[in-house]
Subunit: 374 residues, 2 copies
């Protein structure tokens, strides 16, 4: 009688419309039917990013595949780049850049802190030959937001490509890559796109286009772009995920990107006020809207007790194991998050925390009302 | 009122059990539930390949991704290799090998013909420094079978790794890689595994294991293997496809691999006898059991007329465009193939072919009865 509910920062629960699309009989990809659907998906992506550019491709891969694609397609061996490393996914940029022969300068940011654009500026002055800057808009492992627009600004000043991992930022923030001065943007399906994992996205600017290389094969942007503009793909696409993406993008755009961001802002703020009212606090200095990392030395106990009551949140990874638990807001319905907070209250009560049942829910509901969501 | 039926050599129609699995709410991959399911899938793969070895990994990618993985993980830049190129997928090996810095010796096989093991032997004698031999077990573009066991034998004689693209051979042939002397085996989900595209498989021998490199990142066998043995993955897996694979593998193994191969042999033989009875002929010298390529200068007309009656077969690609049409047998229920042949008769009749309605179906049904399937 109990359905486990997911509040993990990917995968996130699938909307009913998406599940229906996934259960349909498969269609062939070299057909007019697929071509039309794929071109519609592309139009929806353009609307989502408020940009008419055709410069984006999908890959049949997890988000890490699109990260590899960003490294291979826009940089040559030996290129110096700046990598902002403030968590597990910052580390992944560093590993990818090193693996594929780039020369990364590391800007190490303490886990939980956000990058300082002034420091990015200083480092780019110190290393004026940096061809690009890699970072996460939302560092999923720590719940931190890195100031993307400000970093984009600094990149433009120094003519470095601004490469943003937006895997947990797309479908959360109203990202307009041109306004944000982002050159390469990476996304993954099991996050704000509300799909199963296995489909990734790579968008790039005209400036980035001029750096396109031939280094990749499976993840080749050139090979894919020439086909995808026409509604086809170089290799067999993740057909079912692309068809389901049409459903989720329609859902997202019916709500509208501004309101999508507002909802996530309300969810983040409401959740953090709720946990504060319950005596806990946010881990991140500048929390990302996609995921709230809550600091607690008893986080593993809390996580396990939540699970016993049917709520799955994520723990900390690597050095944060046992130090935080993480609540995803991606695609969440506020009433589900209210439910989570109510259950969190029960758990904290049971674990002997000094707190008042209802205090978290009260703070949360007030926030939703202030935002006009309720 | 008309449901289009797919007889394309990938994707193939999804069984009901698979569609149900795909429509389920997503689960998180870092859970005991996923781990258990994934380990069960791995056990089923071992049963399918009659090999207890743990040396295989899945990737979230199309089959081409696993081909890239085979090139990157077992060969170094500058390695000389022999590539058997007898169609569009042989060409893909050649392109991948060249792209990643191997030095391919090309054994060009006329499209529709099969590789001659004696010629492979001669070439390996001429180039004794070849580290591997790349080929397709079933060359999907021409419908040809390359004699895998004989090629494996020759590879072993010359201590070259036998790298077999089995994308349209797994789930069709009863492949026992050790008996066939295959060192690296590549598979893709939308073929004999009866799933949507987006999941690929790479199996390798102990001999191949000794050549493992660190050249790949996303497609790294080492990174994946250490995790996948424990039921986890290095990057986010294609969760829904892995869970659905459990269903399709159970279906396949309930039938049993010997009977699976027998069914495909009957389907292939029955289809080719049927088209012969209707005045058409096979294109391939040694037809693969996965797909029947039928030679006809009017193939595009035939294909389009079939489509009007709700049957989708594939045309020819590249130089074979307009020269052949292709009927997939992968995962097919013989009564569906009977239906296709009945409709093909109607189409040929309508196009003015001299043939007798029912002659194809008669030949097909007789074959099914001879094989004891009916």
């Amino acid at each position: 009688m109990r359905q486990e509910r997911l509040f993990t920062p990917g995968p996130v629960e699938l909307p009913e419309r998406v599940r229906q699309a996934l259960s349909r009989q498969i269609i062939h990809h070299r057909t007019e039917e697929f071509r039309r659907a794929f071109l519609e998906v592309r139009e929806l992506i353009k609307r989502m990013l408020s940009d008419p550019s055709e410069n984006f491709v999908f890959f049949a891969s997890s988000g890490t595949g699109a990260m590899e694609s960003a490294v291979l397609n826009f940089f040559q061996e030996g290129d110096k780049v700046l990598v902002i490393n403030g968590g597990k996914f910052g580390e992944r940029w560093l590993k990818l850049a090193t693996h594929w022969g780039l020369k990364p300068v590391e800007y190490r940011v303490e886990w939980g802190k956000s990058a300082d654009p002034q420091e990015v500026r200083r480092l780019l002055k110190e290393h004026p030959d940096c061809k690009g800057v890699f970072f996460q808009i939302s560092e999923t492992s720590t719940g931190a937001y890195h100031p993307a627009k400000e970093i984009g600004e600094v990149c433009q000043e120094h003519e470095a490509l601004c490469v943003a991992d937006a895997i947990t930022a797309l479908g959360v923030y109203h990202i307009v890559p041109k306004d944000w001065k982002i050159d390469v943007l990476v996304g993954g399906s099991q996050k704000g796109f509300l799909l199963p994992p296995g489909l990734s996205l790579l968008w790039f600017s005209e400036r980035a286009e001029r750096s396109l290389t031939d280094r990749a094969f499976y993840f080749s942007v050139k090979k894919e772009l020439s086909k995808q503009k026409e509604g086809q793909t170089a290799w067999t696409p993740a057909i079912s995920l692309i068809l389901a993406l049409k459903e989720s993008l329609e859902l997202i755009l019916e709500e509208g990107m501004e309101r999508v961001e507002k909802r996530h802002r309300a969810l983040s703020e409401g959740t953090l006020k709720a946990v504060k009212a319950l005596g806990l606090k946010a881990f991140a200095q500048h929390p990302a809207l996609s995921v709230s990392a809550i600091a607690s030395d008893r986080s593993e106990e809390i996580r396990k007790e939540l699970l016993k009551l049917g709520i799955r949140v994520a723990g900390g990874q690597d050095e944060l194991k046992g130090k935080i638990f993480r609540i995803s807001h991606m695609g969440a319905d506020p009433k589900d998050t209210l439910m989570l907070i109510g259950i969190l209250e029960v758990v904290l009560n049971r674990l002997g925390y000094e707190m008042e049942l209802g205090a978290g829910v009260k703070a949360f509901s007030k926030t939703m009302m202030e935002y006009g969501l309720w």
